[in-house]
Protein backbone atom coordinates (compact mmCIF):
# COMPACT_ATOMS: atom_id res chain seq x y z
CA UNK A 1 0.00 0.00 0.00
CA UNK A 2 1.22 3.46 -0.78
CA UNK A 3 1.98 5.54 2.29
CA UNK A 4 1.80 8.88 0.52
CA UNK A 5 -0.87 9.82 -1.95
CA UNK A 6 -2.15 12.90 -3.71
CA UNK A 7 -5.51 13.69 -2.07
CA UNK A 8 -6.98 14.72 -5.42
CA UNK A 9 -6.13 11.31 -6.86
CA UNK A 10 -7.71 9.72 -3.81
CA UNK A 11 -10.92 11.70 -4.33
CA UNK A 12 -10.93 10.70 -8.00
CA UNK A 13 -10.49 7.05 -7.01
CA UNK A 14 -13.31 7.20 -4.49
CA UNK A 15 -15.61 8.80 -7.04
CA UNK A 16 -14.64 6.13 -9.55
CA UNK A 17 -15.05 3.21 -7.14
CA UNK A 18 -18.25 4.32 -5.38
CA UNK A 19 -21.45 3.48 -7.19
CA UNK A 20 -22.81 6.70 -8.68
CA UNK A 21 -26.11 6.36 -6.86
CA UNK A 22 -24.27 6.70 -3.54
CA UNK A 23 -22.39 9.91 -4.36
CA UNK A 24 -25.10 12.20 -3.07
CA UNK A 25 -25.25 10.33 0.25
CA UNK A 26 -21.58 10.62 1.19
CA UNK A 27 -19.57 13.40 2.71
CA UNK A 28 -15.80 12.96 3.14
CA UNK A 29 -14.56 14.34 6.46
CA UNK A 30 -11.39 14.11 8.54
CA UNK A 31 -7.80 14.37 7.40
CA UNK A 32 -8.50 13.45 3.79
CA UNK A 33 -11.05 16.25 3.43
CA UNK A 34 -8.59 18.68 5.02
CA UNK A 35 -5.76 17.50 2.79
CA UNK A 36 -7.91 17.81 -0.33
CA UNK A 37 -8.97 21.36 0.57
CA UNK A 38 -5.38 22.45 1.23
CA UNK A 39 -3.70 20.18 -1.33
CA UNK A 40 -1.67 23.08 -2.76
CA UNK A 41 -0.01 23.64 0.61
CA UNK A 42 0.96 20.06 1.45
CA UNK A 43 4.67 19.37 1.29
CA UNK A 44 5.10 17.25 -1.84
CA UNK A 45 1.37 17.56 -2.50
CA UNK A 46 0.71 14.26 -0.71
CA UNK A 47 -0.87 12.98 2.49
CA UNK A 48 0.06 9.84 4.38
CA UNK A 49 -3.40 8.55 5.17
CA UNK A 50 -5.44 5.77 3.70
CA UNK A 51 -8.38 6.39 5.99
CA UNK A 52 -11.30 8.08 4.23
CA UNK A 53 -13.93 8.98 6.82
CA UNK A 54 -17.28 8.88 5.02
CA UNK A 55 -20.33 10.34 6.68
CA UNK A 56 -23.47 8.74 5.33
CA UNK A 57 -26.50 10.98 5.09
CA UNK A 58 -29.34 11.57 5.82
CA UNK A 59 -29.27 12.04 9.56
CA UNK A 60 -29.93 9.14 11.85
CA UNK A 61 -30.34 6.69 8.99
CA UNK A 62 -28.67 3.53 10.28
CA UNK A 63 -30.70 1.65 7.72
CA UNK A 64 -29.16 3.80 5.00
CA UNK A 65 -25.67 2.96 6.27
CA UNK A 66 -26.55 -0.72 6.27
CA UNK A 67 -27.82 -0.40 2.70
CA UNK A 68 -24.60 1.38 1.62
CA UNK A 69 -22.35 -1.19 3.30
CA UNK A 70 -24.26 -4.13 1.83
CA UNK A 71 -24.27 -2.57 -1.63
CA UNK A 72 -20.50 -2.03 -1.49
CA UNK A 73 -19.89 -5.60 -0.30
CA UNK A 74 -22.00 -7.03 -3.10
CA UNK A 75 -19.98 -4.90 -5.55
CA UNK A 76 -16.75 -6.53 -4.41
CA UNK A 77 -15.56 -4.19 -1.71
CA UNK A 78 -13.55 -5.99 0.97
CA UNK A 79 -13.41 -5.68 4.75
CA UNK A 80 -10.05 -4.56 6.19
CA UNK A 81 -8.37 -7.06 8.50
CA UNK A 82 -9.66 -5.24 11.61
CA UNK A 83 -13.21 -5.19 10.32
CA UNK A 84 -15.26 -8.18 11.36
CA UNK A 85 -18.78 -8.84 12.62
CA UNK A 86 -19.87 -9.81 16.12
CA UNK A 87 -22.55 -12.35 16.83
CA UNK A 88 -24.38 -9.99 19.17
CA UNK A 89 -24.70 -6.20 19.29
CA UNK A 90 -23.51 -6.17 22.93
CA UNK A 91 -20.80 -8.24 24.62
CA UNK A 92 -21.94 -11.39 26.38
CA UNK A 93 -18.58 -12.35 27.84
CA UNK A 94 -17.98 -9.29 29.99
CA UNK A 95 -15.83 -7.49 27.37
CA UNK A 96 -15.93 -3.68 27.52
CA UNK A 97 -18.92 -2.36 25.61
CA UNK A 98 -16.94 0.46 23.95
CA UNK A 99 -14.59 -1.88 22.11
CA UNK A 100 -17.12 -4.53 21.20
CA UNK A 101 -18.41 -3.50 17.78
CA UNK A 102 -15.98 -2.92 14.94
CA UNK A 103 -16.30 0.00 12.58
CA UNK A 104 -17.17 -0.76 8.98
CA UNK A 105 -13.95 -0.31 7.06
CA UNK A 106 -14.04 -1.33 3.45
CA UNK A 107 -11.36 -1.52 0.76
CA UNK A 108 -12.43 -1.09 -2.86
CA UNK A 109 -12.52 -4.19 -5.03
CA UNK A 110 -9.24 -3.71 -6.88
CA UNK A 111 -7.19 -1.30 -4.82
CA UNK A 112 -5.50 -1.07 -1.47
CA UNK A 113 -4.85 2.67 -1.85
CA UNK A 114 -7.45 3.61 0.74
CA UNK A 115 -10.34 2.31 2.78
CA UNK A 116 -13.67 3.89 3.63
CA UNK A 117 -14.79 4.10 7.23
CA UNK A 118 -18.54 4.57 7.46
CA UNK A 119 -19.87 7.10 9.94
CA UNK A 120 -23.50 7.79 10.66
CA UNK A 121 -24.81 11.34 10.42
CA UNK A 122 -26.08 12.40 13.87
CA UNK A 123 -29.67 13.28 14.61
CA UNK A 124 -30.19 16.73 16.13
CA UNK A 125 -31.40 15.23 19.42
CA UNK A 126 -28.25 13.17 20.02
CA UNK A 127 -26.74 14.22 23.37
CA UNK A 128 -23.63 12.03 23.61
CA UNK A 129 -20.50 13.40 21.96
CA UNK A 130 -19.96 9.98 20.40
CA UNK A 131 -22.44 7.16 20.04
CA UNK A 132 -21.99 3.71 18.52
CA UNK A 133 -24.99 2.68 16.47
CA UNK A 134 -25.24 -1.12 16.05
CA UNK A 135 -25.54 -2.10 12.44
CA UNK A 136 -26.23 -5.62 11.25
CA UNK A 137 -24.64 -6.97 8.09
CA UNK A 138 -24.82 -10.51 6.71
CA UNK A 139 -21.96 -11.79 8.87
CA UNK A 140 -22.85 -10.12 12.14
CA UNK A 141 -22.98 -6.86 14.06
CA UNK A 142 -20.82 -3.81 13.39
CA UNK A 143 -20.73 -0.34 14.82
CA UNK A 144 -21.36 3.02 13.19
CA UNK A 145 -19.63 5.86 15.01
CA UNK A 146 -21.92 8.81 15.24
CA UNK A 147 -20.36 12.08 16.44
CA UNK A 148 -22.77 14.65 17.78
CA UNK A 149 -21.00 17.69 16.33
CA UNK A 150 -20.21 16.07 12.99
CA UNK A 151 -23.64 17.29 11.94
CA UNK A 152 -22.15 20.77 11.66
CA UNK A 153 -20.14 19.65 8.65
CA UNK A 154 -23.32 19.67 6.59
CA UNK A 155 -22.96 23.45 6.62
CA UNK A 156 -20.51 24.98 4.15
CA UNK A 157 -19.91 21.59 2.54
CA UNK A 158 -17.77 21.70 -0.57
CA UNK A 159 -17.93 19.66 -3.74
CA UNK A 160 -14.68 18.28 -5.14
CA UNK A 161 -13.77 18.29 -8.82
CA UNK A 162 -14.76 14.62 -8.93
CA UNK A 163 -18.23 15.43 -7.61
CA UNK A 164 -17.79 13.95 -4.12
CA UNK A 165 -18.67 16.31 -1.25
CA UNK A 166 -16.29 17.06 1.58
CA UNK A 167 -16.50 18.96 4.82
CA UNK A 168 -15.06 22.47 4.97
CA UNK A 169 -12.04 23.15 7.22
CA UNK A 170 -13.93 25.70 9.28
CA UNK A 171 -16.77 23.33 10.14
CA UNK A 172 -14.46 20.37 10.81
CA UNK A 173 -12.53 22.63 13.16
CA UNK A 174 -15.67 23.64 15.04
CA UNK A 175 -16.87 20.03 15.27
CA UNK A 176 -13.53 18.97 16.77
CA UNK A 177 -13.41 21.94 19.14
CA UNK A 178 -16.86 21.17 20.53
CA UNK A 179 -16.08 17.45 20.77
CA UNK A 180 -13.25 18.10 23.23
CA UNK A 181 -14.25 20.54 25.97
CA UNK A 182 -11.62 18.82 28.13
CA UNK A 183 -8.42 17.00 27.23
CA UNK A 184 -8.73 13.69 29.00
CA UNK A 185 -12.39 12.70 28.78
CA UNK A 186 -11.97 11.06 25.37
CA UNK A 187 -8.98 8.96 26.46
CA UNK A 188 -6.09 8.03 24.20
CA UNK A 189 -6.06 6.83 20.63
CA UNK A 190 -5.99 3.08 20.27
CA UNK A 191 -2.81 2.82 18.23
CA UNK A 192 0.22 4.69 19.62
CA UNK A 193 1.79 7.05 17.04
CA UNK A 194 5.54 6.72 16.67
CA UNK A 195 5.76 4.75 19.88
CA UNK A 196 4.03 7.34 22.03
CA UNK A 197 0.59 7.45 23.52
CA UNK A 198 -1.51 10.31 22.23
CA UNK A 199 -4.60 11.78 23.80
CA UNK A 200 -7.54 11.66 21.39
CA UNK A 201 -8.24 15.30 22.23
CA UNK A 202 -4.61 16.29 21.54
CA UNK A 203 -4.79 14.62 18.14
CA UNK A 204 -8.14 16.16 17.20
CA UNK A 205 -7.36 19.62 18.56
CA UNK A 206 -3.96 19.36 16.84
CA UNK A 207 -5.97 18.84 13.64
CA UNK A 208 -7.88 22.01 14.45
CA UNK A 209 -4.59 23.90 14.82
CA UNK A 210 -3.35 22.44 11.55
CA UNK A 211 -6.52 23.59 9.79
CA UNK A 212 -6.10 27.03 11.32
CA UNK A 213 -2.46 27.18 10.25
CA UNK A 214 -3.30 26.17 6.69
CA UNK A 215 -5.98 28.86 6.48
CA UNK A 216 -4.95 32.48 5.98
CA UNK A 217 -5.54 34.91 8.82
CA UNK A 218 -8.24 36.52 6.63
CA UNK A 219 -10.01 33.17 6.38
CA UNK A 220 -9.64 32.56 10.12
CA UNK A 221 -11.41 35.84 10.84
CA UNK A 222 -14.31 34.65 8.69
CA UNK A 223 -14.78 31.35 10.50
CA UNK A 224 -16.99 32.90 13.16
CA UNK A 225 -19.40 34.05 10.44
CA UNK A 226 -19.83 30.42 9.38
CA UNK A 227 -19.86 28.99 12.89
CA UNK A 228 -22.45 31.17 14.53
CA UNK A 229 -25.34 30.57 12.08
CA UNK A 230 -24.47 26.85 11.85
CA UNK A 231 -24.66 26.50 15.65
CA UNK A 232 -27.90 28.47 15.71
CA UNK A 233 -29.44 26.28 13.04
CA UNK A 234 -28.34 22.89 14.35
CA UNK A 235 -28.48 23.49 18.11
CA UNK A 236 -31.21 26.09 18.40
CA UNK A 237 -31.84 25.60 22.12
CA UNK A 238 -28.21 25.69 23.26
CA UNK A 239 -26.25 27.47 20.55
CA UNK A 240 -25.27 30.30 22.88
CA UNK A 241 -23.85 27.96 25.51
CA UNK A 242 -21.93 26.02 22.86
CA UNK A 243 -20.57 29.27 21.41
CA UNK A 244 -19.31 30.32 24.82
CA UNK A 245 -17.54 27.07 25.60
CA UNK A 246 -16.20 26.12 22.15
CA UNK A 247 -12.69 27.28 23.09
CA UNK A 248 -12.38 25.49 26.44
CA UNK A 249 -10.53 22.41 25.22
CA UNK A 250 -8.17 24.46 23.10
CA UNK A 251 -7.31 26.69 26.05
CA UNK A 252 -6.57 23.60 28.12
CA UNK A 253 -4.37 22.24 25.35
CA UNK A 254 -2.37 25.47 25.09
CA UNK A 255 -1.81 25.43 28.84
CA UNK A 256 -0.60 21.82 28.89
CA UNK A 257 2.92 21.49 27.42
CA UNK A 258 2.81 17.70 27.26
CA UNK A 259 -0.54 17.59 25.48
CA UNK A 260 0.56 20.38 23.15
CA UNK A 261 3.62 18.36 22.25
CA UNK A 262 1.38 15.40 21.49
CA UNK A 263 -0.62 17.67 19.18
CA UNK A 264 2.64 18.82 17.60
CA UNK A 265 3.71 15.23 17.06
CA UNK A 266 0.38 14.45 15.51
CA UNK A 267 0.36 17.34 13.00
CA UNK A 268 4.05 16.86 12.29
CA UNK A 269 3.38 13.35 11.07
CA UNK A 270 0.11 14.33 9.38
CA UNK A 271 -1.21 17.39 7.63
CA UNK A 272 1.72 19.66 8.42
CA UNK A 273 4.47 17.14 7.79
CA UNK A 274 7.59 18.93 6.54
CA UNK A 275 6.48 22.40 7.63
CA UNK A 276 8.79 22.37 10.65
CA UNK A 277 6.05 22.84 13.20
CA UNK A 278 7.00 23.17 16.84
CA UNK A 279 5.04 23.85 20.00
CA UNK A 280 5.72 27.61 19.84
CA UNK A 281 4.23 27.83 16.35
CA UNK A 282 1.20 25.78 17.36
CA UNK A 283 0.70 27.97 20.41
CA UNK A 284 0.82 31.10 18.24
CA UNK A 285 -1.74 29.61 15.85
CA UNK A 286 -3.90 28.64 18.81
CA UNK A 287 -3.84 32.22 20.06
CA UNK A 288 -4.84 33.42 16.61
CA UNK A 289 -7.74 31.00 16.59
CA UNK A 290 -8.85 32.24 20.01
CA UNK A 291 -8.64 35.92 19.13
CA UNK A 292 -9.88 35.77 15.55
CA UNK A 293 -12.67 33.22 15.89
CA UNK A 294 -13.39 31.74 19.32
CA UNK A 295 -13.52 34.96 21.35
CA UNK A 296 -15.84 36.65 18.81
CA UNK A 297 -17.99 33.49 18.83
CA UNK A 298 -18.15 33.54 22.63
CA UNK A 299 -19.11 37.22 22.52
CA UNK A 300 -21.96 36.46 20.18
CA UNK A 301 -22.98 33.68 22.56
CA UNK A 302 -23.46 36.26 25.30
CA UNK A 303 -25.87 38.38 23.25
Amino acid sequence: MSENIDPKILFDLIAHHLPTELHRHVLIAGSLAAAYHHRDRLIGGVINTKDADVVIQPAGAVAECERVAKLLLTRGWRRTNVCFGRATPKPTDGSPTDDWLRAIRLLPKDSDAYFLELLSFPATDQREIKRWEPCQLDDGWYGLPCFRYMGLTATDRRVSESGISHASPAMMALANLLSHPTLRAAGTIGKPEGGRTILRAAKDLGRVLALAWLASTDELREWVNLWEPALRERFSSEHRALARRAGEGLRELLADPDALDQARHSVDTGLLRGHGMDAAKLRAVGEQLLVFALEPLASRGKN
Binding site: W213, S216, T217, D218, R221, H275, G276, M277, D278, A280, K281, R283, A284, V285, E287, Q288, L290, V291
Partner: protein
Protein backbone atom coordinates in the same frame (compact mmCIF):
# COMPACT_ATOMS: atom_id res chain seq x y z
CA UNK B 1 24.64 61.49 28.12
CA UNK B 2 28.30 62.25 27.66
CA UNK B 3 31.36 60.13 27.25
CA UNK B 4 34.87 61.42 27.66
CA UNK B 5 37.64 60.18 25.49
CA UNK B 6 41.32 60.73 25.98
CA UNK B 7 43.86 61.00 23.18
CA UNK B 8 47.53 60.44 23.99
CA UNK B 9 50.25 61.67 21.69
CA UNK B 10 52.19 58.48 22.38
CA UNK B 11 49.28 56.44 20.98
CA UNK B 12 47.85 58.42 18.03
CA UNK B 13 45.97 55.40 16.71
CA UNK B 14 44.11 54.83 19.98
CA UNK B 15 41.18 56.43 21.68
CA UNK B 16 41.04 55.77 25.43
CA UNK B 17 37.70 55.86 27.21
CA UNK B 18 36.74 55.31 30.81
CA UNK B 19 33.07 54.59 31.30
CA UNK B 20 31.27 54.50 34.57
CA UNK B 21 28.04 53.56 32.80
CA UNK B 22 27.20 50.78 30.38
CA UNK B 23 26.01 50.06 26.86
CA UNK B 24 25.03 53.60 25.97
CA UNK B 25 28.58 54.77 26.72
CA UNK B 26 29.92 52.01 24.54
CA UNK B 27 27.53 52.98 21.73
CA UNK B 28 28.59 56.61 21.99
CA UNK B 29 32.29 55.73 22.03
CA UNK B 30 31.94 53.43 19.03
CA UNK B 31 30.07 56.12 17.17
CA UNK B 32 32.78 58.65 17.94
CA UNK B 33 35.37 56.15 16.75
CA UNK B 34 33.49 55.55 13.49
CA UNK B 35 33.01 59.25 12.82
CA UNK B 36 36.70 59.89 13.44
CA UNK B 37 37.96 57.21 11.06
CA UNK B 38 35.36 58.25 8.49
CA UNK B 39 36.91 61.71 8.48
CA UNK B 40 40.60 60.76 8.78
CA UNK B 41 40.47 57.49 6.78
CA UNK B 42 43.08 56.18 9.24
CA UNK B 43 42.86 53.12 11.44
CA UNK B 44 41.95 53.72 15.04
CA UNK B 45 41.35 51.48 18.02
CA UNK B 46 38.97 52.11 20.89
CA UNK B 47 40.51 51.16 24.24
CA UNK B 48 37.73 51.20 26.75
CA UNK B 49 37.65 50.49 30.47
CA UNK B 50 34.01 49.76 31.20
CA UNK B 51 33.59 47.89 34.48
CA UNK B 52 29.80 47.73 34.39
CA UNK B 53 29.57 45.67 31.22
CA UNK B 54 30.35 42.01 30.68
CA UNK B 55 32.68 40.79 27.98
CA UNK B 56 29.82 38.84 26.41
CA UNK B 57 27.67 41.95 26.08
CA UNK B 58 30.58 43.94 24.67
CA UNK B 59 31.13 41.28 22.01
CA UNK B 60 27.40 41.36 21.19
CA UNK B 61 27.36 45.15 20.90
CA UNK B 62 30.51 45.13 18.78
CA UNK B 63 29.02 42.69 16.27
CA UNK B 64 25.83 44.70 16.23
CA UNK B 65 27.70 47.92 15.62
CA UNK B 66 29.70 46.46 12.72
CA UNK B 67 26.46 45.48 11.04
CA UNK B 68 25.04 48.98 11.01
CA UNK B 69 28.05 51.11 10.04
CA UNK B 70 29.15 51.85 6.51
CA UNK B 71 31.02 48.94 4.90
CA UNK B 72 34.29 50.90 4.79
CA UNK B 73 34.40 51.39 8.55
CA UNK B 74 34.92 47.87 10.02
CA UNK B 75 38.33 47.47 8.35
CA UNK B 76 39.54 50.67 10.02
CA UNK B 77 38.39 50.14 13.59
CA UNK B 78 39.12 47.74 16.40
CA UNK B 79 38.19 47.41 20.05
CA UNK B 80 40.10 46.57 23.21
CA UNK B 81 37.90 46.28 26.28
CA UNK B 82 38.61 45.73 29.94
CA UNK B 83 35.78 44.97 32.33
CA UNK B 84 35.42 43.54 35.79
CA UNK B 85 34.85 40.10 34.31
CA UNK B 86 37.76 40.06 31.89
CA UNK B 87 39.43 41.31 28.78
CA UNK B 88 38.55 41.15 25.10
CA UNK B 89 40.11 42.40 21.89
CA UNK B 90 38.29 42.39 18.56
CA UNK B 91 41.48 41.36 16.74
CA UNK B 92 43.01 38.17 18.04
CA UNK B 93 46.68 38.85 17.13
CA UNK B 94 48.98 39.10 20.18
CA UNK B 95 46.08 38.83 22.59
CA UNK B 96 48.31 38.00 25.55
CA UNK B 97 50.47 41.07 25.09
CA UNK B 98 47.43 43.24 24.40
CA UNK B 99 45.79 42.12 27.60
CA UNK B 100 48.86 42.94 29.66
CA UNK B 101 49.07 46.34 28.02
CA UNK B 102 45.37 46.99 28.51
CA UNK B 103 45.53 46.07 32.18
CA UNK B 104 48.49 48.39 32.63
CA UNK B 105 47.24 51.37 30.62
CA UNK B 106 43.47 51.47 30.82
CA UNK B 107 42.75 51.92 34.53
CA UNK B 108 44.91 55.04 34.59
CA UNK B 109 45.18 56.48 31.11
CA UNK B 110 41.52 56.23 30.20
CA UNK B 111 40.49 58.49 33.04
CA UNK B 112 40.22 61.99 31.60
CA UNK B 113 41.28 65.16 33.32
CA UNK B 114 38.35 67.12 34.66
CA UNK B 115 38.24 69.35 31.60
CA UNK B 116 35.42 70.29 29.31
CA UNK B 117 33.78 67.42 27.44
CA UNK B 118 35.37 66.41 24.17
CA UNK B 119 32.17 65.27 22.56
CA UNK B 120 28.50 64.99 23.27
CA UNK B 121 26.32 62.27 21.89
CA UNK B 122 22.69 62.66 20.96
CA UNK B 123 20.24 62.63 23.82
CA UNK B 124 16.55 61.79 23.50
CA UNK B 125 15.65 65.44 24.11
CA UNK B 126 18.09 66.66 21.47
CA UNK B 127 16.54 64.09 19.15
CA UNK B 128 13.07 65.57 19.69
CA UNK B 129 14.33 69.09 18.92
CA UNK B 130 16.14 67.88 15.84
CA UNK B 131 13.05 66.09 14.54
CA UNK B 132 11.02 69.30 14.84
CA UNK B 133 13.61 71.28 12.89
CA UNK B 134 13.95 68.57 10.26
CA UNK B 135 10.19 68.37 9.82
CA UNK B 136 9.93 72.13 9.37
CA UNK B 137 12.78 72.07 6.84
CA UNK B 138 11.27 69.21 4.82
CA UNK B 139 7.88 70.89 4.66
CA UNK B 140 9.47 74.30 3.91
CA UNK B 141 7.75 75.94 6.83
CA UNK B 142 10.43 78.57 7.21
CA UNK B 143 12.30 79.46 10.42
CA UNK B 144 10.72 78.61 13.78
CA UNK B 145 11.06 80.55 17.00
CA UNK B 146 12.74 78.79 19.92
CA UNK B 147 9.40 78.97 21.69
CA UNK B 148 7.70 77.14 18.85
CA UNK B 149 10.47 74.53 18.75
CA UNK B 150 10.04 74.12 22.50
CA UNK B 151 6.29 73.72 22.12
CA UNK B 152 6.47 71.18 19.33
CA UNK B 153 9.25 69.12 20.89
CA UNK B 154 7.90 69.32 24.44
CA UNK B 155 11.42 70.32 25.49
CA UNK B 156 12.24 73.21 27.82
CA UNK B 157 13.77 76.39 26.46
CA UNK B 158 17.19 75.60 28.09
CA UNK B 159 17.11 72.15 26.47
CA UNK B 160 16.32 73.69 23.12
CA UNK B 161 19.19 76.14 23.61
CA UNK B 162 21.66 73.32 24.30
CA UNK B 163 20.47 71.45 21.23
CA UNK B 164 20.79 74.53 19.06
CA UNK B 165 24.35 75.13 20.31
CA UNK B 166 25.22 71.61 19.28
CA UNK B 167 23.67 72.08 15.85
CA UNK B 168 25.55 75.37 15.41
CA UNK B 169 28.84 73.61 16.17
CA UNK B 170 27.87 71.06 13.55
CA UNK B 171 27.15 73.81 11.03
CA UNK B 172 23.63 72.54 10.59
CA UNK B 173 22.00 75.84 11.63
CA UNK B 174 23.24 79.40 11.16
CA UNK B 175 25.52 81.13 13.70
CA UNK B 176 22.83 83.61 14.70
CA UNK B 177 21.38 84.23 18.13
CA UNK B 178 17.84 85.21 19.13
CA UNK B 179 16.58 84.65 15.61
CA UNK B 180 14.05 82.15 14.34
CA UNK B 181 15.81 78.90 13.55
CA UNK B 182 15.97 76.83 10.41
CA UNK B 183 18.20 74.02 9.25
CA UNK B 184 20.63 75.18 6.57
CA UNK B 185 20.26 71.96 4.64
CA UNK B 186 19.61 68.30 5.14
CA UNK B 187 21.46 67.44 8.40
CA UNK B 188 23.38 64.39 7.21
CA UNK B 189 25.97 64.33 9.99
CA UNK B 190 23.33 64.23 12.70
CA UNK B 191 21.25 61.78 10.70
CA UNK B 192 24.16 59.34 10.65
CA UNK B 193 24.40 59.53 14.43
CA UNK B 194 20.66 59.21 14.83
CA UNK B 195 20.62 56.08 12.70
CA UNK B 196 23.54 54.56 14.56
CA UNK B 197 21.77 55.19 17.87
CA UNK B 198 18.33 54.42 16.52
CA UNK B 199 17.64 51.55 18.91
CA UNK B 200 18.16 53.71 21.96
CA UNK B 201 16.63 56.91 20.54
CA UNK B 202 13.55 55.54 18.83
CA UNK B 203 13.19 52.46 21.08
CA UNK B 204 11.41 50.39 18.46
CA UNK B 205 9.68 47.12 19.27
CA UNK B 206 10.33 44.57 16.54
CA UNK B 207 7.83 41.77 16.00
CA UNK B 208 7.92 38.55 14.01
CA UNK B 209 5.16 36.08 13.21
CA UNK B 210 5.59 33.20 15.65
CA UNK B 211 3.09 31.01 13.81
CA UNK B 212 5.66 30.19 11.16
CA UNK B 213 3.43 31.42 8.36
CA UNK B 214 5.13 33.52 5.65
CA UNK B 215 5.40 37.15 6.86
CA UNK B 216 2.39 39.16 5.75
CA UNK B 217 2.81 42.86 6.61
CA UNK B 218 0.15 43.76 4.02
CA UNK B 219 -2.29 41.51 5.87
CA UNK B 220 -1.49 43.27 9.15
CA UNK B 221 -2.12 46.62 7.49
CA UNK B 222 -5.44 45.37 6.14
CA UNK B 223 -6.56 44.31 9.61
CA UNK B 224 -5.40 47.59 11.14
CA UNK B 225 -7.41 49.45 8.54
CA UNK B 226 -10.47 47.34 9.30
CA UNK B 227 -10.49 48.49 12.93
CA UNK B 228 -8.08 51.41 13.42
CA UNK B 229 -6.89 51.69 17.04
CA UNK B 230 -6.51 55.13 18.63
CA UNK B 231 -3.15 56.81 19.06
CA UNK B 232 -1.48 55.09 16.16
CA UNK B 233 -0.12 56.12 12.78
CA UNK B 234 1.34 54.20 9.89
CA UNK B 235 4.90 55.03 8.88
CA UNK B 236 7.55 53.45 6.69
CA UNK B 237 6.85 52.44 3.13
CA UNK B 238 3.07 52.86 3.41
CA UNK B 239 3.36 56.48 4.55
CA UNK B 240 6.15 57.14 2.06
CA UNK B 241 3.83 56.10 -0.76
CA UNK B 242 1.33 58.59 0.61
CA UNK B 243 3.84 61.44 0.69
CA UNK B 244 5.59 60.61 -2.57
CA UNK B 245 3.33 59.43 -5.40
CA UNK B 246 6.41 58.31 -7.35
CA UNK B 247 7.78 56.22 -4.50
CA UNK B 248 9.74 53.45 -6.16
CA UNK B 249 9.38 50.13 -4.39
CA UNK B 250 7.30 47.06 -5.01
CA UNK B 251 5.70 45.28 -2.08
CA UNK B 252 5.87 45.98 1.61
CA UNK B 253 9.01 44.73 3.39
CA UNK B 254 7.57 45.37 6.86
CA UNK B 255 4.87 47.41 8.53
CA UNK B 256 6.12 50.44 10.48
CA UNK B 257 3.77 51.89 13.06
CA UNK B 258 4.16 54.95 15.25
CA UNK B 259 2.31 54.97 18.56
CA UNK B 260 1.73 57.70 21.08
CA UNK B 261 3.30 56.97 24.45
CA UNK B 262 4.65 53.56 25.35
CA UNK B 263 4.48 50.56 23.06
CA UNK B 264 1.20 48.86 23.99
CA UNK B 265 0.57 45.23 23.28
CA UNK B 266 -3.23 45.03 23.40
CA UNK B 267 -3.81 46.31 19.88
CA UNK B 268 -0.97 44.14 18.56
CA UNK B 269 -2.70 41.11 20.08
CA UNK B 270 -5.96 42.10 18.45
CA UNK B 271 -4.35 42.64 15.07
CA UNK B 272 -2.45 39.36 15.28
CA UNK B 273 -1.80 37.45 18.51
CA UNK B 274 0.98 35.48 16.79
CA UNK B 275 3.19 38.59 16.88
CA UNK B 276 6.13 38.22 19.26
CA UNK B 277 8.74 40.80 20.21
CA UNK B 278 12.27 39.99 19.07
CA UNK B 279 15.57 41.86 19.57
CA UNK B 280 16.27 44.48 16.88
CA UNK B 281 19.21 42.37 15.71
CA UNK B 282 16.87 39.64 14.42
CA UNK B 283 16.51 40.27 10.68
CA UNK B 284 13.32 40.89 8.75
CA UNK B 285 10.70 41.77 11.38
CA UNK B 286 7.16 41.86 10.03
CA UNK B 287 6.06 44.71 12.29
CA UNK B 288 8.08 47.53 13.88
CA UNK B 289 6.43 49.81 16.42
CA UNK B 290 8.00 53.16 17.33
CA UNK B 291 6.76 55.03 20.40
CA UNK B 292 6.67 58.84 20.12
CA UNK B 293 5.74 61.57 22.56
CA UNK B 294 2.94 62.87 20.42
CA UNK B 295 1.56 61.96 17.04
CA UNK B 296 2.03 64.45 14.26
CA UNK B 297 1.31 63.90 10.60
CA UNK B 298 -1.81 63.71 8.56
CA UNK B 299 -5.07 63.56 10.46
CA UNK B 300 -7.14 60.54 9.57
CA UNK B 301 -10.56 60.90 8.06
CA UNK B 302 -13.32 58.63 9.29
CA UNK B 303 -12.37 54.98 8.88
CA UNK B 304 -8.84 55.67 7.69
CA UNK B 305 -5.50 55.36 9.38
CA UNK B 306 -3.38 58.32 10.34
CA UNK B 307 -0.09 58.60 8.44
CA UNK B 308 3.04 59.19 10.50
CA UNK B 309 4.76 62.54 9.95
CA UNK B 310 7.41 62.79 7.23
CA UNK B 311 10.35 62.71 9.67
CA UNK B 312 9.33 59.42 11.29
CA UNK B 313 8.60 58.07 7.83
CA UNK B 314 12.04 59.08 6.58
CA UNK B 315 13.79 57.53 9.57
CA UNK B 316 11.93 54.29 8.84
CA UNK B 317 13.11 54.39 5.24
CA UNK B 318 16.73 54.98 6.25
CA UNK B 319 16.52 52.12 8.76
CA UNK B 320 15.24 49.94 5.93
CA UNK B 321 18.24 51.14 3.87
CA UNK B 322 15.87 52.59 1.28
CA UNK B 323 18.19 55.56 0.94
CA UNK B 324 17.37 56.45 -2.68
CA UNK B 325 13.67 56.35 -1.94
CA UNK B 326 14.16 58.51 1.16
CA UNK B 327 16.09 61.13 -0.82
CA UNK B 328 13.42 61.11 -3.52
CA UNK B 329 10.74 61.64 -0.92
CA UNK B 330 12.61 64.59 0.56
CA UNK B 331 13.07 66.12 -2.88
CA UNK B 332 9.39 65.67 -3.63
CA UNK B 333 8.22 67.16 -0.35
CA UNK B 334 10.50 70.17 -0.78
CA UNK B 335 9.37 70.69 -4.35
CA UNK B 336 6.45 72.84 -5.40
CA UNK B 337 4.54 69.66 -6.30
CA UNK B 338 3.99 68.72 -2.68
CA UNK B 339 0.77 69.90 -1.04
CA UNK B 340 1.29 72.49 1.71
Amino acid sequence: MRIESVHHTAYPDRMFVFSSQGARDLHAALLQLALTVDETKKRKSLWIYIPKMTIGRIQFEWRRFLRVVDQKIPALISLVALTNDGFWASSSGGAGDLEKEARRLLPTMARPASSAPQWTTISPKFFEVWKVLLGAWIMREGPLTALEVSRRSAASIPTVAVALRHLRRRGEIAETRNQPIELLGFPRATLREVLALSDSLRRPAHYYDASGRPPDPAGLLRHLRAAPPRGLAIGGVVAARHYDPDFDLNGLPRLDVVVEGKVPSDWVRNVDPAMRVVPPTVPSPVLVVHPVKSLRGIEPTKGTLRMADPVETLLDLYELRLTDQAEHMIAHLRSDKAPR
